[in-house]
């Protein structure tokens, strides 16, 4: 049923030959993106997926996915918004409004809105109020208090579900998109305000007219189907922009309730809309996978009259674009095809640099694979379960580049479904766990910022120590085990919601092979190194501006290697409590510009057991061996040297050799690790396999086919 692991031999540059387990049976399929919400105060982007997962991307830190809330089937989100500065709320079809704790990385609370499934949510421009649109046609206003949210009142109930909501920038009016009509109402008087088109009965007795803007149902000449208003946007000049299931983008005058302009842009639904803060451009996403950019341009250069014009279409998606966002410099879109696409607006980008490049984020910026080296086992982490596999083997030998036949296929050993069973409280809120090299100790990063050290015994365990965060500092989660024992591993944190305070959780753990040192890093603070032997904080690596993406401690030397999201790599000597000479050299000289332009973070660092000068690391598109003994490349040298041709003389090879040996054979690469000196395991996840598992896209006639 699964693609068997292929095995081949690859000559890794300068390192001799490896036998490579090319694993393609990690059947990972990311969930489709349902909502995106951009916060311009912190320049962060919240993304929610159809399985309820919420991810936070730091756009200033190279679009690093720095936070992550795992989801649940029962918590599918339909709406996501930032309110009151940097508080994140989501609402979904289970009728609950959820606030996330961005420090502790768990759910702060969930509150039922009592209106049936929630389809839409919008925070007021001031951020102090939250409006949700429900299945039963009600619009509910919540007040955002410092700790929670509080129900304030209901607005007039509409006939059908409220699918989209938008506040007027002044906060006085709200537009609500429903099925076949858009309503605009006054927040203060609670009354619907709009001109009524046909429905006189909806006039409110209090004197304010209820106004609805009826949307043309016509869909490709057929008017049978209902027209669903997927999105509305209220501009400060009173214009309401709506997008609907008939493929239209329509401009309405909210004062008179009249249709001003109509753009038919797609043969399928237009599902999302986002307006820039300056209200000079907006972006819509369609079910055909196209994203259209609209701009407000002046009609002639010498007149002040302006008009909305559809400008560039972008086709970066194959499936429905369910959500779009408009940051000051980029258009962000995501949809069923699971990619998050960030398309910078060239006119807003000052210099042509790395920020001006199109980015397509498909895989999480975390490691989903762990490896037991001696037993040759791989553990795959899925959203709601774990799988354990044994690698296949071969007896054949071959030349460089040959593909070897398998003598024994890979085995699927275990499938563990996530469930909350009895477990100690500290484990229940664990964000990251890590075994020591000899499997005698377990390190747990809990959501309270504390790190637990546990000694494992036959069938039981003993809590050894807790490292508490010091004075507002915090520790936290995720690590990589040297070897896994097959106990219940709750990768899925917490149903509990506690934790107050401002303790930031730790996301990354690393333990030294001799078991003496434990390194932990959070999303923003520096890396803390604890002495396991003495059970105390040993030192803190100076804080750096960009979040840590991978950590590892080298055997023997106990050098801590840290990769940051801006592609910098540091080496820090734990015993000496300072950066190593090599690290200082490379910082002085700087990394190669191509190295800094890579757009996926390094997710895993490991070491060669026999060659202490080598550091192995990889991101989704390359695998690199840094040979510290060789000279560093400067901007003039070729960074990505192809596999050295065997016929070239050693002299040339030596002259062109530099510290970075990069192989791009395997991509997208989710995991790569050295099993032993001569064996590598590479876990690939070809994009075609993911696309094959997605629902079929809307069929479009292609010319010439």
């Amino acid at each position: 049923m699964l693609a068997a692991g292929e095995e081949g031999i690859v000559d890794s540059p300068g390192m001799g030959e490896f036998k490579v387990h090319r694993v393609r049976f990690f059947n990972y399929v990311p969930s489709g993106i349902r909502c995106v919400a951009y916060n311009d105060q912190s320049n962060r982007l919240a993304v929610s997926r159809t399985d309820g997962t919420v991810e936070i991307y730091n756009l200033s830190a190279n679009y690093f996915q720095e936070k992550f809330f795992s989801g649940h089937e029962s918590r599918a989100t339909e709406a996501l918004c930032w309110a009151k500065g940097q508080r994140l709320f989501s609402a979904g079809l289970n009728g609950e409004i959820i606030e996330y704790d961005l420090q502790a990385l768990n759910i702060k609370y969930a509150m039922d809105a009592f209106g049936g499934p929630i389809w839409s949510m919008a925070a007021s421009p001031s951020g102090s109020q939250l409006l949700v649109g429900c299945e039963d046609g009600s619009v509910k206003l919540f007040q955002v208090t410092p700790e929670k949210i509080q129900f304030e009142r209901n607005f007039d109930r509409q006939k059908s579900r409220i699918l989209s909501l938008s506040w007027h920038p002044s906060g006085t009016h709200v537009a609500a998109g429903s099925i076949d009509y858009i309503s605009v109402f006054d927040v203060k008087s609670e009354n619907w305000l709009m001109d009524s088109f046909g429905d006189e009965t909806d006039f409110n007795l209090l004197g304010s007219a209820i106004h609805k803007m009826l949307v043309d149902r016509q869909y490709m000449g057929v008017s049978k189907r209902k027209c669903i208003i997927w999105g509305v946007a209220f501009l400060s000049d009173g214009t309401v922009i709506s997008v609907d299931s008939a493929g239209k983008v329509q401009f309405w005058d909210s004062a008179t309730g009249t249709l001003v302009k109509n753009h038919l842009i797609a043969n399928a639904d237009v599902q999302s809309i986002a307006v820039s803060d300056q209200e000079d451009s907006f972006v819509v996403g369609t079910a055909e996978g196209t994203v259209f950019h609209f701009q407000l341009v002046s009609v002639t250069s010498n007149s002040s009259e302006k008009q909305w014009v559809r400008t560039k279409p972008f086709q970066h998606h194959t499936h429905d674009v369910r959500a779009v966002a408009h940051s000051p410099t980029a258009l962000i879109s995501g949809g069923t095809d699971t990619h998050l696409v960030i398309r910078p607006l060239m006119e807003k980008v000052e210099v042509k640099n790395y920020d001006a490049a199109l980015r397509k984020i498909t895989f999480p910026h975390r490691r989903l694979v762990s490896c037991a080296k001696k037993r040759q086992l791989l553990l795959f982490q899925f959203a709601h379960h774990l799988e354990l596999w044994r690698l296949g083997s071969t007896v054949a030998t071959g030349k460089n580049g040959d593909t070897l036949p398998l003598s024994k296929d890979a085995d699927h050993l275990l499938h563990l479904k996530a469930k909350v069973s009895k477990m100690p409280a500290f484990l229940r809120s664990a964000l990251q766990i890590l075994f020591s090299e000899d499997s005698t100790k377990l390190f747990v990063a809990s959501n309270q910022g504390s790190l637990h050290v546990i000694r494992l015994l036959e069938g039981s365990f003993k809590h050894l120590h807790t490292f508490q965060p010091q004075s507002g500092e915090r520790l936290l989660l995720t690590g990589h085990g040297r070897e896994f024992s097959l106990t219940d591993v709750p990768f899925f944190p917490n149903e509990t919601s506690v934790v107050g305070g401002t303790v930031e959780s730790m996301c990354l753990l690393a333990v030294s092979p001799d078991g003496n040192w434990l390194a932990a890093s959070g999303t923003s603070a520096g890396v803390h190194v604890y002495s396991v032997k003495h059970l105390k904080l040993h030192c803190t690596v100076p804080a750096y501006n960009f979040p840590v993406t991978a950590l590892a401690i080298a055997p023997n030397t106990n050098n801590l290697v840290i990769a940051h999201s801006d592609q910098q790599v540091f080496e820090y000597s734990i015993p000496d409590k300072q950066y190593t000479e090599w690290s200082r050299t490379i910082q002085k000289q700087g990394f190669h510009h191509l190295w800094l332009q890579r757009d996926t973070p390094i997710t895993h660092i490991s070491f060669h057991p026999k060659r202490p000068m080598h550091i192995l690391l990889h991101d989704a598109y390359m695998f690199c061996i840094i040979d510290k003994s060789l000279p560093l490349p400067n901007d003039k040298t070729l960074l990505y040297n192809p596999l050295p041709p065997t016929n070239e003389s050693d002299v040339i090879r030596r002259r062109t050799a530099h510290a970075f040996k990069i192989s791009k054979i395997y991509k997208p690469l989710l995991f790569m690790e050295l099993l032993d000196e001569r064996t590598l395991v590479a876990v690939e996840r070809p994009l075609d396999d993911i696309i094959a598992q997605l629902p079929p896209p809307i069929k479009k006639k292609k010319f010439g086919t």
């Binding site: 493929g247 038919l264 701009q295 002046s298 009609v299 002639t300 008009q307 559809r310 560039k312 279409p313």
Partner: protein, 832 residues
């Protein structure tokens, strides 16, 4: 090109490209102008007729534009370095501005009153500049205009790549991969470049054309990959933005905005006019099946008409609601000419390959296509690399009552598809009707076919010669069955000669002999018995042309070979009469005389020799008639014989020789100067014909002439004082027939005009016919008193107030009459 004193010159005789530049509409959409070689043609949009030919340029006309300050005038520019201003209604050249440089295109702007924009090239041949040219004001006919000011450099020479926008505030130019916009006020140029990388996606990003929105700051550009980009915000090089419209699958050939800017028109090789409403992708309308690739699109200033120029030399006028209303078709030059030039004996039209699969009948006199005959009768698929069925041979027989055509298609060496069709002229439908279709008449290519055109031959006979070594004789036989009476063609005789390929065939004038050439050998067959009479063999290479002499020279047979030998055999003595070394490309006998024209090819050019077979000395030689190779030639009988006395030109007396060069320009010989030749057929004022029936119209004499006879009796009885016929009054005809721009001021004219109308001098003369100027009165004719009063008043004013004035301006005869008038006794009025 004037070669000799007596002005026998090679001239272009029409058939020029009508689609060389965008056609231009007059302001009222009544006329459409298009460049045609050295001329500008004025067509009526309603009737498709050519109203005027504006001639005066000495080289290719490269641009025309209406004068923005006087929409009754037209500017044109040409390679001859002049800009001419025309009054197109009268076909008069008003002014000539001499620039002295090759002008490639012309643009006018309403806001730039005294200047125009032209494209010139610098020293290097492919560097073109857009410059503004100041047209000096002067009353003289020829003015030098040298004041050039540079606008844009390195532009494309095609005027499609330049567009002026927003009332002339900026000009957009495209070339290769970039768009440049020059702002006249700011005097800055913005340049936007598209990615031109070699990868597949952007390989065809090249710009092909540009158009500017008439109201908004929006530039539309067409691209090689079929995309249309709409650029906005281009005054800011950073904030510019564009959107794409994509329907065309091949390059966008031209773009045009409607007058209001509400829709954008585009066209290309698909032969479909696309109208993008509101410039949105989803809202588009099509006018499909226009026949050939759309090369240019233009829009009338009134907004009610569009027109498209097509690659098959055709202009289609299209209504605003996308309905084609008129087609102006010139000589189609789209495809290869295989059939050669023929003359349809009935219409005297030139017949040759037209649209793919069609024969076109082209009238040389009116320079327009008469009609198309669809020979292949299959849908033409316009795509690269497709091997199409080609119409390769055609011949008229029996004075135009039969037409034989041969079509072939050869995909591979061994797969030849061959079809011969015989068409009969149907007098009822005035057209050719397919009579017989013969599949695979021969095993290999048909090299020649000819009808027996002898007067006495009772049965139509056709001979085909083929590379398969045979020639076949086809005759018309009775094909009647119980259902209908019919005739059909069947093969009567198959002849061959030692398995040589048959290359040419030819009947003698009286039809008694058939000559068939088999490679190097000419065989003579008796057409009665199909018996081989004799053979001629000169061993001078394969025979390329073969023809019998005519009239007094019918005893001679002429053959031209590939090796450059022209032989003349005497059929009576069966011996070679003479031979000459001449590399003959075209050999055409004149049907009305003994003359034969031969065109030979030399490295310098083509030379024409006219000779009689009986005399080895040519009648006439003209060297270097064309620099290119002459491919086909034909003698066209004259309707009215000329009478050249000079011996050298006598050959032109009864026929005219037309020839077609490799680049498909149709040329002929003319003795008259171009100004005399092709004079506009009607010098009449158009205004007279198209006047609506207003009171003014009644004043003009036409109407009265019509009613003359009816009213004659009655009017005579009444003996009324009548207005004179306007034809006879110089003042009126002068006023109405002089172009507006040369008339004196209206105040000056008014009195003269009124006076001339008031003159009732002619009433005295007995032959004067009454008219209906008093029609209204006549309707209620019982009240005759009023009429009389009226006429009296008229005469009073006439004689008293304006008398003095008139006298000075009247002709002598009128003065005489006026004097008589004064003496007339009006006392009878008092009696009433």
């Amino acid at each position: 090109m004037v070669e000799e004193e007596k002005n026998l010159r090679v001239v272009r005789c029409g058939g020029s490209e009508l689609n060389f530049r965008r056609a231009v509409f007059s302001a009222d959409s009544k006329y459409i102008f298009c460049v045609s070689g050295d001329f500008i043609k004025v067509y009526s949009t309603a009737t498709e007729e050519c109203v005027h030919i504006l001639q005066g340029h000495r080289q290719l006309v490269t641009g025309i534009q209406l004068n923005p300050n006087n929409h009754l005038q037209l500017y044109s520019c040409s390679f001859d370095g002049t800009i001419k201003l025309w009054d197109y209604i009268d076909g008069i050249l008003i002014k000539t501005f001499i620039v002295g440089r090759k002008l490639h295109a012309l643009f006018t702007l309403a806001c730039a009153e005294d200047s125009v924009f032209v494209i010139i090239n610098k020293e290097k041949p492919d560097i073109f500049q857009l410059v503004s040219l100041k047209l000096p004001r002067s009353s003289s006919q020829e003015i030098e205009a040298k004041e050039l000011s540079f606008v844009l450099d390195y532009i494309n020479q095609s005027p499609k790549c330049i567009a002026f926008g927003n009332e002339g505030q900026y000009v957009a130019a495209v070339r290769d991969f970039y768009l440049s916009v020059y702002f006249f006020k700011k005097k800055t140029t913005s340049r936007f470049t598209l990615s031109s990388s070699r990868n597949k996606k952007h390989a065809k990003n090249n710009f092909t054309c540009v158009a500017c929105h008439p109201k908004e700051d929006c530039i539309a550009t067409g691209h090689k990959d079929g995309k249309i980009r709409l650029w906005r915000n281009f005054d800011d090089e950073k904030k510019y933005t564009y959107t794409c419209l994509h329907w065309h699958h091949d390059l966008v050939m031209d773009l045009a905005f409607s007058v209001t800017g509400s829709s954008l028109l585009s066209g290309g090789r698909e032969s479909v006019l696309v109208e993008w409403r509101e410039a949105t992708e989803k809202n588009k309308e099509f006018l499909p099946r226009l026949g050939a690739a759309i090369v240019h699109i233009s829009v009338s200033p009134a907004g009610d008409l569009f027109c498209t120029s097509h690659s098959d030399n055709k202009i289609i006028i299209i209504h605003r609601n996308l309905e084609a209303s008129a087609v102006i078709q010139g000589l189609v030059k789209d495809s290869n000419i295989f059939t050669g030039l023929m003359i349809d004996p009935r219409t005297k039209a030139l017949v040759l390959n037209g649209k793919p699969g069609h024969l076109q009948f082209y009238s040389l006199q009116s320079d327009k296509q008469l009609y198309n005959l669809d020979i292949i009768q299959q849908e033409y698929i316009n795509d690269y690399g497709l091997i199409q069925i080609e119409l390769t041979k055609a011949a008229f027989g029996c004075y135009g009552s039969w037409l034989a055509t041969v079509e072939q298609r050869q995909e591979k060496e061994t797969e030849l598809e061959l079809q011969m069709k015989l068409w009969m002229y149907n007098k009822k439908t005035q057209g050719f009707v397919l009579n017989t279709k013969i599949n695979m008449p021969h095993e290999d290519h048909i090299t020649d076919l000819c009808f027996c055109n002898a007067e006495k031959s009772e049965n139509p006979t056709l001979v085909t010669a083929s590379r398969d070594g045979h020639f076949k004789v086809w005759i018309l036989t009775d094909d009647s069955d119980i259902y209908r009476k019919a005739v059909g063609w069947t093969c009567d005789f198959v002849g061959s000669y030692h398995k040589y390929q048959a290359t040419n065939c030819c009947f003698s004038e009286d039809g008694s002999l058939l000559a068939v050439s088999f490679e190097e050998i000419v065989t003579i067959w008796d057409s009665e018995t199909w018996e081989l009479k004799c053979t001629f063999c000169q061993r001078a290479g394969k025979i390329r042309h073969l023809c019998f002499g005519r009239l007094t020279c019918s005893k001679y047979l002429l053959g031209a070979t590939e090796n450059g030998i022209l032989c003349c055999w005497n059929l009576l003595s069966c011996a070679l009469e003479w031979s000459a070394k001449l590399s003959v490309r075209v050999m055409e006998p004149d049907p009305n005389s003994e003359n034969v024209a031969a065109v030979s090819q030399s490295p310098v050019g083509s030379d024409l020799f006219v000779f009689k077979p009986s005399e080895p000395r040519p009648l006439y030689i003209q060297k270097n008639i064309s620099r290119e190779e002459v491919q086909w030639g034909v003698f066209v009988p004259r309707d009215v014989p000329e009478s050249f006395t000079s011996e050298a030109y006598q050959w032109l007396n009864r026929s005219q020789f037309y020839f077609l060069t490799k680049s498909q320009s149709l040329l002929t010989f003319s003795t008259t100067s171009p100004e005399e030749k092709l004079t506009p057929t009607s010098k009449q004022l158009l205004a007279e014909e198209s006047l609506p029936t207003t009171p003014f119209y009644f004043i003009l004499g036409k109407h009265r002439q019509q009613q003359q006879d009816e009213k004659l009796n009655k009017a005579l009885e009444n003996e009324l004082v009548q207005l004179p016929l306007t034809e006879n009054i110089p003042a009126i005809s002068e006023l109405l027939q002089t172009p507006a721009h040369v008339l004196p001021s209206a105040s000056f004219l008014c009195s003269m005009f009124v006076n001339s109308l008031l003159l009732s001098t002619k009433t005295e003369s007995a032959e004067e016919v009454p008219d209906d100027a008093d029609m209204e009165e006549e309707k209620e004719s019982d009240d005759s008193d009023e009429e009389n009063n009226f006429t009296e008043e008229v005469q009073d004013t006439n004689t008293t107030d304006l008398g003095e004035d008139i006298i000075h301006q009247l002709s002598k005869s009128e003065e005489k009459e006026l004097r008589k008038l004064r003496k007339v006794d009006y006392s009878w009025i008092a009696a009433l």
